[in-house]
């Protein structure tokens, strides 16, 4: 009995070394197990089996397994061979497989299936903990490479089944990269790293088989590699190692691929919605491949679960779009699909909101809010932003946060109001339809209403503010997307806009008598809806003036009234209600040109016109504003081909009228007879000089260039002054030579200028920005006090000096003010 037990024990303990050997005596083993079981030693035998398995792993499997990776690990830069990895896992699987399932183990656990499963689990834990208690970085890199290639190969093998939404482009792409000239680039790349001759032989043999099968003669081994790849995954799954070994690698391969795909597909176009397509793509391509690796066991898929991958895709997409926000805004409404996509991502990915906000803010700073951009462009971008962000974030919070810098910047520009008003009233402008949009409340109403009032009837659709709204301090209901209100609110007061509108209207009417009153009236009505009637009252009167003066004009010119009958030329008049028109605009009574003496026939006509007006409107009279208006006139030089027609301002007409009487005028004489200052006269007379009608001789004497004088004066001289361009050119070249002169003078005092610069720099540091005149006066007061040896700087010298500093980017010149850059 004892001897048989001894024999049985000896047999069993020897058995493991026979695993896989043909002369393995099944009957003997069964008998031995039976004897051991009878003696109650089954438990002990099981424990012995486990411990000898551990020894086996440590002494045999472990060194052989890691030996597969040794060679390449000496040179880490060398790309590892896929086949080494395949080999290693194949070895692991077979050698452990022998232990995991054999007659002995089955015998030890006969009739105890559950215990056997638990026992196998223990063994697998042993493998995991003994073999992979520490995974080398290099090993992870190997695994990553394997899965990267695995993905590529499976993609190249069945591009269509994998990629269902692939279009023609993609199949062409496959052709070009994958199967160039009948050769698969991917497996070629893989095989180039193969050094194990056994695999080469295997590959060659499969090749031969395929040749024999009469398959196409492409030398593609993808199929073969794929088979090994799947085998490896199966082996790992069998050993419960898949998640530990491959989980990270698979996840990162998939992530990389999603990232690359999203960027490749979606980066260029904003005009298409991609999210749905991407989701389909993920389902078709990524999920399928993942199943290929993990099998159908969903429990294994933890690091690359459906939700995680979808989320990752959304995040990647959002990140890409966030970096493109500025272009998306500028391209709105073409980019609307992109915005809708991003909106969906905002709802799904935490933290994207802040990133979007920061991205927009940064790109505004970099691309919009600097002196190189015109106010009109900024406004256009602003309007685009409002429209685009309305799509992205209906709550308006992002808009408000993002537009704060724009508002502040626009406030600092002088021409903002003017640009907005011009844009609002320009017929071709995109803002006109915005203005025409129905608004139930004027700007004032909205500002004074409480939240409750605003929410009012729509309380059912009320939604709480997003979290980042808190910082704004204002309630959501006040936020709105009405572009006109937003623009007007840049200044937080509508008065400026009303004033500017009035001024603009006045200028339009005064410069263009045939202005389209109906159009302006419609504009005014729209503006009245927003600004309220009281503020725009004077504009209404202005429009009324235009219409009524046309009526009166028609009556008077029709000869209805005795007093005025036009003889030589018709006289038309714009009759204004002075109280309701803006000041200035040349209406200033102190303006010297108001005393301008018009040509006698005009004065005569004006007189009778006024009388006619007095007849129509009892107790009222007209005060004419001589410098305003326009005149059509013709200069007749005697022969029919020498007639020239002009449309000029009254002062120009008055000047040329004087030259009828006398062909040569002294500036002061002319100034006296027209009651206009010499400075203004000189400025105005240059118009005729540019036209080649009048020429300045030395000493403020102007002569008319007409037929007789032409013949006296050299022809060339006349031609020279006839052309406007020549005149301008001359002026410029003159100025340039002046500048050059003073510049060379500067060189002499180079050292002196260093001192100047120091002084100016300090001055601007303390006082921020200063005009040229202020700088000069301060400069001369402190730097060159009276009595010192220094010559005070002239304006021109200082300007040149500051110009050079501007060119050196040390100063910034804007709105007539210098400040430090």
């Amino acid at each position: 009995m004892t001897s048989s037990l001894d024999q049985a024990w000896n047999l069993i303990t020897k058995t493991p070394s026979w695993f896989g050997q043909a002369d393995f005596n099944k009957k003997e083993v069964d008998e031995a197990i039976r004897i051991i079981s009878i003696n109650g030693l089954l438990q002990i035998s099981q424990e012995w089996y486990l411990s000898s398995f551990r020894d086996h792993i440590l002494t045999n499997i472990c060194p052989s397994f890691w030996a597969h990776f040794k060679k390449a690990s000496e040179d880490e830069t060398e790309p590892c061979s896929l086949f080494q990895v395949f080999d290693a896992f194949k070895y692991l699987h077979t050698s452990c497989g022998l232990w995991l399932d054999n007659q002995l183990i089955r015998g030890l656990f006969v009739n105890q299936c559950d215990t056997l499963d638990d026992f196998r689990k223990k063994m697998k834990y042993l493998i995991k903990s003994l073999l992979f208690f520490k995974i080398e970085q290099i090993f992870n890199a190997y695994i990553l490479t394997v899965y990267t290639y695995g993905f590529k190969v499976s993609k190249s093998l069945n591009p269509f089944s994998l990629d269902e939404n692939s279009d023609k482009d993609e199949s062409q792409e496959m052709d070009s990269s994958g199967n160039l000239e009948g050769e698969c680039m991917i497996c070629k790349e893989i095989l180039s790293s193969v050094d194990s001759s056994s695999y080469k032989d295997m590959i060659l043999s499969t090749d031969e088989n395929r040749m024999d099968d009469g398959d196409d003669d492409r030398t593609c081994h993808c199929q073969f590699i794929m088979k090994l790849f799947i085998e490896m995954n199966d082996a790992l799954r069998d050993l419960d190692l898949l998640d530990e070994i491959s989980g990270d690698a698979v996840a990162s391969v998939i992530h990389n691929h999603i990232e690359a795909y999203v960027i490749e597909k979606c980066k260029k176009s904003f005009e298409e919605s991609f999210l749905k397509k991407l989701e389909v793509w993920i389902r078709n391509v990524i999920f399928k491949w993942r199943r290929l690796v993990f099998g159908d066991n969903q429990a294994l898929i933890t690091k690359a679960s459906d939700e995680r991958l979808m989320h990752f895709m959304h995040e990647t997409y959002a990140q890409m779009r966030t970096s493109q926000m500025f272009d998306i805004i500028i391209e709105y409404p073409d980019s609307e699909p992109a915005l809708e996509d991003l909106k969906e991502c905002l709802g799904k990915c935490h933290g994207t909101r802040t990133k979007v906000i920061n991205s927009i803010k940064d790109s505004f700073e970099a691309r919009l809010l600097h002196p190189g951009v015109t106010t009109n462009d900024i406004l256009t971008a602003y309007i685009q932003t409002i429209k685009a962000l309305k799509v992205l974030d209906p709550s308006g919070v992002i808009l408000e946060i993002v537009c704060d810098p724009i508002k502040k910047y626009l406030k600092s520009r002088e021409d903002t109001v003017r640009c907005i008003i011009t844009a609002l009233t320009d017929e071709s402008s995109e803002l006109v339809p915005e203005l025409a949009k129905d608004v139930s409340q004027t700007i004032d109403d909205v500002a004074t209403m409480t939240d409750d009032e605003l929410i009012g009837k729509n309380w059912k659709s009320w939604k709480p503010d997003p979290v980042d709204a808190g910082s704004l301090g204002r309630s959501k209901s006040v936020r709105q997307f009405d572009i006109v209100s937003i623009l007007v609110n840049v200044y937080e007061s509508k008065d400026l806009f009303v004033e500017e509108y009035q001024r603009l209207l006045a200028q339009r009417f005064l410069h263009n008598f045939e202005c389209n009153v109906d159009h302006e009236r419609r504009n005014l009505e729209l503006l009245t809806l927003r600004f309220g009637e009281s503020d725009l009252h004077s504009c209404e009167v202005m429009l009324q003036d235009i219409s009524s003066s046309k009526r009166i004009d028609n009556r008077i010119n029709a000869g209805e009234i005795e007093a005025h009958h036009w003889t030589h030329f018709p006289i038309k008049c714009l009759i204004l209600s002075a109280q309701f028109w803006p000041d200035k605009l040349g209406l200033n009574p102190n303006e010297e040109a108001n005393k301008l003496k018009l040509p006698p026939p005009v004065q005569e006509s004006i007189k009778t016109y006024t009388q006619a007006f007095e007849t129509i409107k009892g107790s009222r009279t007209l005060n004419w504003l001589p410098p305003l208006g326009s005149v059509d006139l013709e200069l007749d030089f005697g022969s029919p081909d020498k007639k020239q027609s002009f449309t000029v301002s009254p002062i120009h007409a008055a000047i040329i009228w004087q030259f009828q009487e006398k062909e040569s005028w002294n500036l002061s004489e002319l100034s006296q007879s027209l009651s206009v200052s010499t400075a203004l006269l000189r400025r105005k007379i240059s118009f005729w000089q540019n036209k080649g009608i009048i020429r300045e001789l030395s000493g403020d004497r102007f002569v008319l260039i007409d037929n007789q004088t032409q013949s006296c004066i050299a022809q060339s001289e006349f031609l020279l002054s006839e052309s406007d361009d020549d005149e301008d050119y001359e002026d410029e070249s003159l100025q340039e030579s002046n500048n050059a002169g003073s510049a060379s003078g500067q060189d002499v005092g180079e050292n002196k200028h260093k001192v100047y610069w120091q002084f100016i720099e300090n001055m601007l540091t303390n006082l921020n920005s200063l005009s040229l005149e202020r700088i000069r006066s301060m400069f001369n007061m402190f730097a060159c006090p009276n009595g010192s040896s220094e010559q005070p700087l002239t304006i021109q010298q200082l300007r040149n000096f500051l110009e050079t500093k501007v060119k050196e980017h040390k100063l910034v010149f804007s709105n007539g003010q210098y400040r430090l850059a």
């Binding site: 009167v541 040509p599 009279t621 013709e634």
Partner: protein, 84 residues
């Protein structure tokens, strides 16, 4: 050389021919309008009394229609009579 003027478009402002600038009642400019009116000129004309004082017609009518006062000129306290 001869200058032929084809047409002349000028600009003028209209004024009431009155001694004062402002209405004694509403203190607005004559060339403007009374407090109740929107459009100056035809819609808000001036009237003169026999005392030679003048007001926006709406202003003086309101004054004359108020029950407390007898029909006096608000400035010189003479009997108000419209100038023919």
């Amino acid at each position: 050389m001869k200058v032929n003027i084809k047409s002349w478009r000028g600009v003028a402002v209209w004024k009431w021919i009155a001694k004062d600038d402002n209405c004694g009642i509403c203190r607005n400019a004559f060339d403007g309008c009374c407090t109740d009116c929107k459009m100056p000129g035809d819609e808000c004309p001036l009237v003169w009394g026999q005392c030679s004082h003048c007001f926006h017609i709406h202003c003086i009518m309101k004054w004359l229609n108020s029950p407390q006062v007898v029909q006096l000129c608000p400035i010189c306290r003479q009997d108000w009579k419209f100038k023919e």
